[in-house]
Symmetry: C2
Subunit: 212 residues, 2 copies
């Protein structure tokens, strides 16, 4: 029962996970909230508050065991489990996602890509085949797919999402530049690159105005 955790906390979890990973790589096996706070540029208080949403992972007078905390956060993030995933859209972005090997390590198994471009059909990207969009339903039904990455133009995205929900997809990793207004029990994680670039632009623009 991990509900009731605020979005702000959830947002920080993967960052903790990454820093703990880095600490393990450097051979550090224990760390206090104070040291971690310096490293991550957040307050020690926030770290302790965040972690205590999930349980007491530390020990008074000692701090946190890096490996243990890493594993526990990994469990919270569901990284100890495997998740079947497809990518809709085998353009540059779809390919980039498919080629990023680390996802597989974290339990996200890319089982296929789908694209409307017939020239791509039958090709393989890191062992995952590219199919036509007409094969979506069949493939999803037969291959236990939980997650679909949406890397197609925005006008096609909502329709494809609807089709995927019907055959049991639970979560969308949405790269299309539109909101997928879906039912509440469907998870949508948006990666709106153009919005990200605009935020960068805002900050660039506003500092220029300040400094003249």
């Amino acid at each position: 029962m991990k509900s009731g955790i605020s979005a702000a906390v959830i947002k920080r979890l993967p960052r903790y996970y990454r820093h703990l990973d880095e600490l393990m790589e450097s051979g550090v096996d224990r760390i206090s909230s104070g040291e971690l706070s310096k490293r991550m540029n957040i307050t020690a208080s926030q770290i302790r508050q965040d972690l205590n949403n999930f349980g007491g992972f530390g020990q008074q007078g000692y701090g946190y065991n890096v490996q243990y905390l890493y594993d526990e956060i990994g469990k919270l993030l569901g990284i100890d489990k495997q998740h079947g995933m497809i990518i809709v859209g085998a353009g540059n972005l779809g390919k980039a996602i498919a080629n990023y090997g680390n996802f597989e390590k974290r339990g996200f198994i890319i089982k296929a890509l789908f694209d409307s471009n017939t020239e791509l059909h039958g090709k393989e990207i890191r062992g995952a085949k590219v199919y036509g969009l007409d094969k979506l339903e069949e493939f999803v039904a037969e291959n236990d797919i939980e997650i679909a990455a949406i890397a197609i133009p925005k006008n096609y995205a909502p329709e494809v999402a609807e089709r995927l929900i019907k055959c049991g997809v639970k979560a969308f990793w949405n790269f299309a530049h539109t909101d997928l207004n879906l039912n509440n029990d469907i998870i949508v994680e948006n990666v709106h690159l153009s919005e990200s670039l605009m935020r960068l632009s805002y900050r660039l623009h506003s500092t220029e105005e300040r400094n003249g």
Copy 2:
């Protein structure tokens, strides 16, 4: 002087911009905060508060003129200006960024890519040439580059960032899976894809636990 605006507000600006764009496409030329709130799934109060950080863009009894508000937010976002940009890393992700044409429309001009892979040198992606990393300083100095997208492995990213700051790059669009701990006057906009996927995974995992 646009400082002192909270990160929460800035984060929402590009989304307003996108929705206004969509409204213009559908031929809507005025909208009230109430209608927009339904469309965007946020409160009307928040919309009015957000916009009034920057000035009175609306009119009592009428609402907001869509085109006008779109233009004004565009100005805030710095989209009326052109920004020279390079992409470091011409792998799948670098290519995906370079190939996304809409950035150019918004004033982000990709002037070159850089990669350590010599096989790519001299190739062109959407009119932008790929150079070796040894050409970074020269190119940046001569081509008025404000923004660098970092699409290389995390262990190379900090060093490249340092070099780029020395020749005047002001902002980083960071896709490397690491924090670039840079000086405060340097802008870093992070796109950590693996963290995004982990957040999705967390939510998937926690709803499964809730529903059994």
